[in-house]
């Protein structure tokens, strides 16, 4: 069975061949083109050029169902399950078996039987076909997704970060399922950030970087550090402003000790005034959740948080704002802005609702703040949905500057914005430190974390994996984030 493919644009000229029974690892940094590749194979996107062959036959998909019928199934990172329906109903959705030919009633007994057979074939016991998907754990839902993929008589199954939401012992179960599938001759495309898994499972590894195919090698010929080097090895193109000389790192502003809840566990860290601390880690490692916990989105179940030495108890974002924490969210359009409102209304949003008495002052200051941030807009009455991503982000920054924050929590502050705006955001971060603000920044872009931070904290599986000094190498950060072995780099 061959599958060749010559993609384009986000993904340029890629050849990929899968052998029956092979687990093929697909690695690369965030944005390297892994998802694009998977979506093309899954029939979500159509390739601009190139061909896909399954078992020697050329195929083309314009809908996921066509891909599945041709034998290519995909388990996406976000589950495609109906929570209020049973396992069986989810697996056979859209092709429920019927009695007495086409017009007959749905054969629920057969649906149940087939589901149980399918699960048994995967070596899973203890899942009832009639159980509601809502009642399942994440690992169990993952199994249902895989069973659904298998039920199409898949020859190729793609798995996107299948372990992202699983605990260690659950990963073992996934391994055993994958082994059973490969024993049957199914080829697996395995996408993961966790290098240990890649080496545990995969026979061949393909490395992508910035949409380019870097290499495809047998796993046996690679070491972890080599793999990391292949994934990263790119020139630093972004320019980061120098750390100004007149900034002095002051006292501890924000301190977490042993903070834990359902999302993060045992996190202890300190951010001093005038300091930028970067948090690196893989997607799903709990970075965003950590910021959300500090800000009051998730309750703190264990441990404590202190602000300027006094205990900080926030149980809602409103209280977070009252304590003068600012939170620049990852998803600007969903959580940061009211898209159909004006720049001014957005920029005043926080002050107005939390510190209403300061509103008139903030309104007077706002033109200065916005022009200082170099927001390019016709007027302050313009709706933010018509602004570029960079200008939108500047409006978000302006709204948080208006509360004179003590601590600024930034989640992916430069995601999806142009180089110029990026640079302005970096400069602003430096300006904030000059004012004694403590900055805690989460970013998936390693150069950004390394170039901007005074210290780098690395998260893995919801806990802090370690700390690295400013200017640490990308390899060191990635190794710590993936749990790979690199000698001498560990803090």
């Amino acid at each position: 069975m061959t599958k060749s493919f010559f993609g384009n644009t986000v993904l340029a000229d890629l050849d990929l061949t899968l052998q029956p029974g092979e687990v093929h690892g697909l690695v690369g940094e965030n944005g390297a083109g892994k998802s694009t590749l998977m979506k093309m194979l899954a029939g979500v996107y159509t390739p601009d050029s190139g061909t896909i062959e399954v078992a020697g036959e050329q195929v083309s998909f314009s809908h996921p169902v066509q891909a599945q019928r041709a034998g290519v199934s995909t388990v996406f990172q976000e589950f495609n399950l109906l929570l209020e329906r049973t396992i069986a109903e989810n697996i056979w959705l859209g092709r429920e078996p019927r009695r007495f030919g086409k017009a007959g009633p749905v054969d629920t007994a057969r649906m149940r039987r087939d589901t149980e057979e399918l699960l048994e074939g995967l070596g899973v016991s203890g899942l009832r076909a009639g159980a509601l998907v809502r009642s399942l754990s994440v690992a169990e839902q993952q199994i249902v997704e895989i069973a659904k993929a298998v039920s199409f008589d898949a020859k190729v199954i793609q798995m996107d970060e299948p372990t992202a939401a699983l605990a260690d012992h659950e990963v073992e179960l996934l391994y055993s399922i994958i082994r059973r599938l490969t024993d049957r001759g199914v080829a697996i495309v395995y996408v993961s950030h966790r290098l240990k898994e890649i080496f545990d499972l995969c026979a061949t590894i393909t490395i992508l970087k910035d949409g380019q195919h870097v290499a495809t090698r047998p796993a046996a010929e690679l070491t972890e550090s080599e793999l990391v080097r292949l994934m990263v090895g790119r020139p630093l193109t972004t320019y980061f402003p120098e750390k100004p000389a007149d900034v002095t790192v002051g006292d501890v502003r924000l301190a977490l000790s042993g903070v834990g809840n359902g999302y993060v566990d045992d996190v202890s860290l300190e951010v001093r005034s005038g300091e930028i601390v970067g948090i690196a880690g893989l997607q799903g490692s709990g970075r965003t959740e950590l910021l959300e916990t500090i800000f009051g989105v998730h309750p703190v179940a264990r441990g404590s948080i202190a602000l300027d030495g006094a205990p900080l108890k926030v149980s809602s974002p409103r209280q977070g704002v009252r304590a003068r924490l600012a939170f620049i969210t990852e998803d600007r359009k969903a959580k940061g802005l009211a898209l159909n409102q004006s720049i001014l209304d957005n920029a005043l949003g926080v002050v107005r609702s939390v510190f209403p008495r300061r509103t008139s002052q903030a309104r007077k200051d706002m033109p200065g703040v916005l022009s200082n941030l170099e927001v390019a807009a016709a007027s302050m009455g313009q709706e933010v949905q018509f602004l570029s991503g960079g200008n939108q982000q500047k409006v978000v920054l302006a709204r948080w500057l208006s509360i004179d924050p003590l601590v600024v929590l930034m989640d992916e502050p430069t995601r999806g914005i142009d180089v110029g705006a990026k640079h302005r955001v970096y400069e602003l971060m430096r300006e904030l430190t000059r004012l004694g603000v403590a900055v805690l920044m989460v970013s998936s872009e390693l150069p950004e974390v390394i170039g901007m931070s005074d210290r780098i904290l690395v998260m893995r599986d919801g806990t802090l994996a370690g700390e690295l000094p400013a200017g640490a190498s990308e390899e060191a950060v990635l190794a710590m984030a993936t749990g790979a072995a690199t000698e001498g780099e560990a803090a």
Partner: protein, 372 residues
């Protein structure tokens, strides 16, 4: 290679202390929850018992032949409409046009019959066909033009209401004697025929939801339209069918009303407030207003609770405004209870509340035979 990786000292070994803390903070296992249908029928039993007591205090018997007949009759009209509303809500839409469709159906049917038995079948067929067309229009608006059901049905409802207002003043036509006979007939003087019509429709719709692809797809689309589409479900058909059935069931409810009143009335539907009451009964019956979860059985339970409450308040001669007060309270309480029960949380990473899946002991060794 992986074996060596495991032993790198950098990997923090979790301290006994943190494990203990984590365990201590682990929430207790999920409490066994009653499913909402069982809950609603338990509530119904309580309501019936309380009503029996209150009726007894008034010196009357709640379980007398006449009273049971009255309750079941009261259930049948709202019940039929609520079954249709259940379908529409399950598929993720909403129908606010039912009161106007009911009014229109009574005047069309009564006008067609003109008090003659010979006209009865033609009038019934015409009425239901007209209702089906109205439902079809709404279904097409919702599924193909992506107008939300709320707006589509509000608009169609206004159109129908405007038509009724300009063309009919006061009552119109007359029901055929056979139809009126049907309204008075029943089994053994306890169970009215209208209630049997309701039961048959409830059973048929339940079977459709459980045992046809269409029914499965109704739930799928209401649960998550994108998931349904990605699974190859044609998302328009179930939406259209749900709206057509809802309007047709409203038409049937109108015929039942006509069998009791004898004349068509252009305002009978809005007087009955069937739009909000049917939605309330559906929600009370445990169906998610957002769609994707619920059942006709639950809806019938919700309708029964309203009918029993109305009945006992009638017996006690409660002020009509207080009646509304009680109804409103019931709805709000029910929704609050359901909201508490079905809070969707992101599954926690730590302190997993469920036992771990059993890892098969015979991993790929003894069960090799299953490949055959």
């Amino acid at each position: 290679m992986s074996a060596t990786t495991d032993q790198i000292p950098e990997a923090p070994v979790e301290s006994q202390e943190s494990v203990r803390r984590r365990r201590a903070a682990r929430p207790k296992g999920p409490r066994k929850q009653l499913d909402s249908t069982t809950l609603i029928y338990l509530v119904l039993i309580v309501v019936v018992a309380a009503s029996a007591v209150l009726t007894g205090i008034e010196g009357r018997n709640f379980f007398s032949q006449g009273n049971v007949w009255a309750v079941l009759t009261a259930m049948s009209v709202l019940g039929l409409i609520a079954i249709g509303q259940t379908l529409v809500i399950l598929v993720g839409s909403l129908d606010l046009s039912v009161p106007y469709v009911v009014s229109l159906a009574t005047v069309i049917a009564a006008g067609g019959m003109m008090g003659l038995d010979s006209n009865i079948s033609a009038a019934v067929v015409n009425t239901l066909a007209l209702c089906a067309v109205i439902g079809l229009v709404m279904g097409l608006l919702v599924s193909l033009l992506h107008v939300h059901g709320f707006i589509a049905s509000l608009g169609i409802g206004l159109v129908v209401s405007g038509y009724l207002g300009t063309n009919y003043q006061g009552s119109h036509g007359a029901a055929a004697p056979d139809l009126r006979l049907l309204g008075r007939s029943g089994i053994a003087g306890w169970i009215p025929t209208a209630f049997i019509v309701l039961l048959v429709c409830a059973i048929l719709v339940t079977l459709m939801l459980r045992y046809t692809r269409l029914g499965h797809h109704v739930y799928a689309i209401g649960g998550n339209r994108d998931v349904a589409r990605m699974s190859g479900v044609r998302t328009a058909t179930p939406v259209i069918v749900a709206h057509v059935l809802c309007s047709v069931l409203a038409g049937m409810a109108a015929l039942l009303l006509l069998s009791r009143t004898g004349v068509g009335s252009p305002t009978i539907g809005s007087q009955g407030r069937y739009d909000l009451l049917s939605i309330a009964a559906v929600v009370l019956g445990g169906t998610l207003l957002a769609g994707g979860k619920g059942s006709v059985v639950g809806t019938i339970g919700g309708v029964a609770i309203f009918a029993v409450l109305d009945n006992v308040m009638g017996v006690m001669q409660v002020n009509p405004f207080l009646k509304d007060f009680v109804r409103g309270l019931v709805i709000v309480l029910a929704v609050a209870v359901y909201a508490r029960r079905s809070v969707v949380r992101r599954p926690p990473r730590f302190g997993a509340s469920r036992p771990v899946l059993p890892v098969p002991s015979s991993m790929g060794t003894s069960t090799k035979g299953d490949q055959a």
